[in-house]
């Protein structure tokens, strides 16, 4: 439509930008505001500073891994290993410092290195042999979950006293350390996604892997780095969780992988790859955390909480898909 669209294209383009990328985020902000108003007036103590800081800490458990998983999903892959990976990392840091005599710093370093390594392994299986990432990380999910329980006999491993762990598990200037880590990493990931060749390659690989390959992008390297990153982020989350609980546990963070994926998808990242934003994921993390917190404060039965959360998550994604479909300007001719 060389002639006819030239005049019409700018309007449609702007509309697509508004609807496709921003509507979702504006919608989430509105939804979160509504939640705040409703919960603020119905749930006792919701607006307390203590509760708000607690939510920030809870958000960190989902958020840190969610930054990495956002990139994984944008690249058209998936990582379902987060929950067991976090649990195993908490076990590693606890056993490393309490049982293996590595000291706290040694145990933390070991955990970070191993986390990166098992992530890279999953990425390598994906990149080198074409093992679907769902399967590669399902394997990881099972192996790490099993190892964590096996090493500890399913009992919590208490961490030794340590100033460093107190800081990691506590607060800095009143703000939970985990939340600070989350926000710093958020900034890093926003930068990486938008301002580095690697970040753009992630979008390109997810949008059209063949084109990315023919443009000289090293797909294997991108994929390995993606999963190494989520491994590292899981390890960080595990360390922070252990520090906060004072113990490592093979059964910690159960089901976290689904909260993470839900946050990413609610945030508007397409499971099919190629499209997504970290800001959306941040809002998705807040959304999920607020709902979880509100349901607890409202005294909803814990089994029923899962039911309500499930409905809300699917509903949110449904709205997203609907908004995305209307907003995407595509022409096939």
């Amino acid at each position: 439509m060389t002639t006819t669209t030239d005049t019409a294209a700018p309007a449609r383009d702007r509309g697509a930008w508004l609807r496709g990328t921003r509507l979702n985020e504006i919608g989430l902000v509105v939804a979160i505001a509504v939640l705040y108003i409703v919960l603020g007036s119905t749930a006792a103590g919701f607006l307390n500073a203590g509760n708000q800081l607690g939510m920030l800490r809870d958000a960190a458990t989902i958020g840190i891994a969610a930054w990495g998983v956002t990139l994984v999903i944008i690249a058209g892959e998936i990582d379902i290993s987060i929950g067991p990976a976090v649990a195993f990392a908490s076990v590693l840091v606890a056993m490393g410092s309490a049982d293996w005599g590595l000291g706290v710093v040694g145990a933390i370093v070991l955990t970070l290195v191993l986390g990166t390594a098992w992530g890279a392994l999953a990425g390598w299986l994906r990149a080198q042999f074409g093992v679907p990432s769902f399967i590669a990380t399902l394997g990881l999910w099972s192996v790490l979950g099993g190892l964590g329980l096996y090493l500890t006999n399913a009992l919590p491993v208490v961490l030794p006293q340590s100033g460093l762990l107190d800081v990691l598990g506590g607060s800095i200037l009143g703000i939970p350390t985990a939340a600070i880590v989350m926000l710093v990493l958020f900034a890093v990931f926003v930068y990486v996604a938008k301002y580095t060749a690697y970040g753009r390659a992630v979008y390109a690989v997810g949008g059209n892997p063949a084109a990315a390959m023919l443009a000289g992008i090293n797909l294997s390297r991108v994929r390995i780095v993606l999963f190494a990153t989520t491994g590292l982020l899981s390890a960080i989350t595990g360390i922070l969780l252990a520090a906060r609980l004072g113990a490592g546990s093979g059964s910690a963070a159960s089901g976290l992988e689904f909260d993470v994926i839900a946050a990413v998808v609610i945030g508007g990242t397409a499971l099919a790859g190629g499209r997504g934003s970290l800001l959306g994921t941040l809002l998705g993390v807040v959304f999920i955390t607020v709902i979880g917190n509100g349901l607890v404060l409202l005294g909803v039965d814990s089994f029923l909480q899962d039911v309500i959360r499930g409905v809300i998550i699917v509903g949110a994604v449904l709205i997203n898909v609907w908004a995305g479909r209307r907003g995407t300007a595509t022409r096939t001719s």
Partner: protein, 501 residues
């Protein structure tokens, strides 16, 4: 070809469809009779696709009526199918892992006693195939068939449903010249059975072989329906373009210094099953065409040179230096860029902006250390958009919203951005309209004038005389001839590529 009957199959009156701000179709009147093959001509965006979508019931008109065999088309896709409208789209929609028979009965499997009756399915498929005089095994897996036969299976699937109106949207665009004949013959045979056929194509020569009349569209309107027997190609092109036709004459022969060191030399290249023994040189400022039919190994040759397929034997030299290890990264850094033949599936990243699609192969130029400087990226993109006259609302528009020709220019621009001095262009004009083709020819010549060495591959052999300084003929993975300057004529190129020995 004279099978036209008096039965009006499709009667379109005052059909109008406007999208937000785009007058896709305005007051279209078309009448098509049984047994007639009607060509539908027009540039991309002339309204052909919209007309087809309305006929197939995919979209609903704002105004106007469509009658199929006297009955109003007043519903969606189901109603259209009920009335006997079948469409074969440009992209193949077969399930590759299923047999020919199963694909022909996809979604409408014959059942006996609650089970799929494979025997009946095979019989039905064989019947259609023999009716159209095609030697395709109904039990063959579709993925094992050449593209041309896959296209025929698509047509058979539509024919099996006994359509009144069969719409073919560029059925030959993926085929080489030699493969087109069998598809055209099949289309004629379908028409002989009394079916009305709408045939969309950019290839004028093949339209003349299959259709008696052509409806020309432009800017969303039906301009004229012409009898193809007494209209010149020039007149048809005039109707399509609206303005005076530009001279499609050969560009002036340029002088290329062939005593200099070739920018790229290929010696006895063998790679995979399709490339057996290919040698040629490309000099700075030269456009060399690789002339070959589909399957001759022309695309595979480019892929091997660019490092994407392993080389079995032979040598690649760049600027007089033999390259010991031909890898994608290495060849890219030596200034070799390749644009793939399938633009949609392997060249563009649809949702990224034009700017990023341009920068994709080299972010370093627009970065400080690891940090991408977006203002520099945008500026670089703007320069290329300007230089290549890419028509886009803005540089950040997702590339999928651009027309095919503009997408292709951006894909070529990607390698200019990366500083490539050797451009391997695989089918750069596939599926783009006449005007965009001419712009791409001009662009390629200009790049060569600026010193680039270009290897140009096209399935439309008649393009080669319009762009190339030299043509290397490839047949079955071997170089079988070479033409320079005045020797390059359409006849000569086609004959050389098609001769079998």
């Amino acid at each position: 070809m004279q099978t036209q009957t008096d039965t009006v199959v499709a009667d379109v009156r005052g059909l109008t469809k406007h999208y937000a701000g785009v007058k896709a179709l305005t007051d279209a009147d078309v009448t098509i009779r049984g047994g007639e093959v009607r060509a539908l001509l027009g540039r991309n965006g002339a309204g052909k696709s919209t007309l087809i979508r309305l006929l197939a019931g995919v979209e609903t008109a704002d105004r106007g009526t469509v009658q199929i065999a006297g009955q109003p088309l007043d519903g969606g896709v189901r109603r259209a199918a009920e009335l006997g409208v079948e469409t074969v789209h440009q992209e193949l929609s077969l399930v590759p892992q299923m047999t020919v028979a199963e694909n022909m009965f996809l979604g409408a499997w014959p059942m006996t006693g609650g089970r799929v009756d494979f025997a009946a399915m095979r019989r039905g498929a064989a019947e259609v195939l023999s009716e159209l005089d095609l030697a395709i095994d109904p039990d063959a897996l579709v993925e094992d068939l050449p593209i041309a036969e896959q296209q025929l299976v698509e047509i058979c699937r539509a024919v099996r449903r006994a359509p009144r109106l069969l719409i073919l949207d560029e059925p030959t665009s993926a085929l080489a010249a030699g493969e087109v004949a069998v598809v055209l013959a099949t289309v004629r045979r379908v028409a002989e059975t009394g079916v009305a056929v709408i045939y969309v194509s950019h290839r004028l020569d093949e339209i003349r072989q299959v259709a008696t009349s052509a409806t020309v569209m432009r800017d969303g309107r039906v301009i004229e329906t012409v009898d193809l027997e007494d209209v010149s190609t020039r007149r048809v092109v005039e109707l399509m373009l609206g303005d005076a036709v530009q001279e499609q004459d050969r560009p002036a022969t340029r002088s290329v210094d062939r005593d200099a060191t070739p920018r790229l030399s290929v010696r006895n290249l063998a790679a995979g099953r399709k490339v057996e023994d290919v040698s040629f040189d490309v000099y700075p400022g030269e456009v060399v065409g690789l002339a070959g039919l589909m399957g001759s190994g022309r695309s595979e040759t480019l892929r091997a040179i660019a490092g994407f397929d392993p080389i079995d034997s032979g040598e690649v030299w760049v600027d007089g230096t033999p390259i010991t290890s031909v890898t994608p990264r290495g060849m890219k850094s030596l200034g070799i860029g390749m644009t793939p033949e399938d633009r949609k599936s392997s060249a563009i990243v649809p949702l990224l902006g034009v700017d990023e699609n341009l920068a994709l192969a080299d972010y370093r130029q627009v970065s400080d250390g690891p940090t991408i400087r977006w203002e520099r990226l945008r500026a670089a993109a703007a320069r290329l958009i300007d230089r290549l006259s890419i028509a886009t609302a803005r540089s950040t528009t997702p590339i999928v919203n651009l027309s095919g020709g503009n997408q292709q220019k951006a894909v070529i621009g990607r390698w200019l951005h990366a500083g490539s001095r050797v451009l391997l262009l695989d089918e750069p004009t596939r599926g783009v309209d006449v005007q965009a083709k001419e712009e791409i020819y001009r662009l390629i010549r200009e790049l060569a004038d600026d010193g680039a060495a270009v290897v140009f591959v096209s399935g439309e052999l008649e393009e080669l005389p319009l762009v190339c300084d030299r043509v290397v003929v490839v047949r079955h993975g071997r170089v079988t001839g070479e033409m320079v300057g005045e020797q390059i004529t359409t006849d000569a190129v086609v004959a050389a590529a098609m001769t079998t020995d």
